[in-house]
Symmetry: C2
Subunit: 123 residues, 2 copies
């Protein structure tokens, strides 16, 4: 802040008061990757869908449309988002696509959030 800068006459714009100059923000690529996973989770419908998948080990879309009250294309879209984010896996069996939770992905996210200082530093 300005008062700290006043005592550092030669560090008026290269040094932030609280941020050591050798500590840049989280790398852009890491931030993007983490944000994408969090964004996949950051929708109430997708959280509801996840809770349903978790409760029955594996689920297909015809089981999910009713409980969450969404149309089939919408559920299909959401499931795709979750699969692409690495939070679910999809397995085609005949007519049915089975979706399952990826526990490791949640564990990893939990680890990042549990220790925010170290977690958000991981690259």
């Amino acid at each position: 802040m300005a008062d700290a800068r006043a005592t550092l006459p030669v560090l008026d714009d290269a040094d932030a008061c609280c941020t050591p100059p050798d500590t840049p923000p989280l790398a852009r690529a890491d931030a993007q990757r983490l944000a994408e996973q969090l964004k996949a989770l950051a929708d109430p419908m997708r959280l509801q869908l996840l809770s349903l998948v978790m409760d029955c080990d594996s689920a297909c879309i015809c089981d999910l449309t009713g409980p969450v009250g969404l149309s089939q294309p919408t559920v299909s879209h959401h499931m795709r988002v979750l699969v692409e984010a690495g939070l679910l896996t999809r397995e085609q069996r005949g007519r049915w696509a089975h979706y399952r939770v990826v526990p490791e992905a949640f564990a990893q996210l939990a680890g990042l959030l549990a220790d925010p200082r170290q977690g958000l530093r991981t690259s």
Copy 2:
């Protein structure tokens, strides 16, 4: 799925094959609340801002605009989002607004994600 339904003659539309009928999805209000917190985190810029705040215990906006390369209004807006999501606190001191991380909020989110089955069931 359809084959499971074929063996449950009276549960053809009320029962999903994998979801026990007494296990509804995550409650809508809970899903909304959790989604809001996750959405606050689900932006790469905000993750970068958070990593900076974490590294220096407390920061103000003038310290943050440079490292993340955003304008003051944008940073101010992002900080507001994080404060309203309960992930940061804001304290006005003279001209400066000090932002700090709320560790408990992260711990809670981590808990929800670490044990997804129970975590997403919590209300």
